[in-house]
Symmetry: C2
Subunit: 123 residues, 2 copies
């Protein structure tokens, strides 16, 4: 959900879109999710779309950008207004279920880093 704090522009059409946010005021946070998919879809695509839609409805959600290549390597970065918003999303029941399925079925491995954005610039 956009809050009026940021403007938001999609860059890329294929798969999930890179976003361009112009910060206007206030601090915000990034969650960097680096992952390696297992082979085959196994229901991943549908759930990933559902989870992204749910994330967008979470309080404090700002935006998400993600890229995955043909080898199954992916980096998704979601942006949030606060650490509390990130913690609440981590505990969301549907998200927890997806996290569990992710460990069992969809990912060979993944790494999550929660970060405070200190500054940004764009071209």
């Amino acid at each position: 959900m956009m809050t009026g704090v940021y403007s938001y522009q999609k860059i890329v059409g294929k798969g999930r879109s890179l976003i361009h946010m112009t910060q206007r005021s206030g601090s915000y946070y990034a969650v960097i999710f680096s992952s390696q998919r297992t082979e085959g879809d196994k229901g991943y695509g549908v759930t990933a779309d559902e989870i992204e839609e749910l994330a967008k409805q979470q309080p404090g959600f700002i935006g998400v950008e993600g890229v995955r290549d043909a080898s199954g390597a992916g980096i998704t970065v979601s942006y949030w207004e606060s650490l509390e918003a990130i913690a609440a999303w981590k505990q969301n029941p549907a998200h927890r279920l997806a996290q569990s399925k992710g460990k069992e079925v969809w990912y060979e491995r993944y790494q999550v880093r929660v970060c405070k954005v200190e500054r940004e610039y764009s071209f």
Copy 2:
């Protein structure tokens, strides 16, 4: 250059590799580089490899992970020991030349976010 603070493991072989770092102590920083390539290589591949090699020789460099998909959308995250190390790398002459070429030739657009890693977990 690895410093002994982190262990380092490559995850993925295609293109640049996702890294897995296990933090042992100390704070560190992430630079999230989201970009959209223009069409065609135009010397990008060779320079990108050279710049990555140079980054690895910079003081305070910890690691880098990156993914680019077939549409040219990419996210690269580099990890650094300090904001000073990031600022020094931004001013590196070869890197500055590549930044300039990037704006002129290689990228439709990009966005850079400098972040402090607050916490991490992995599977």
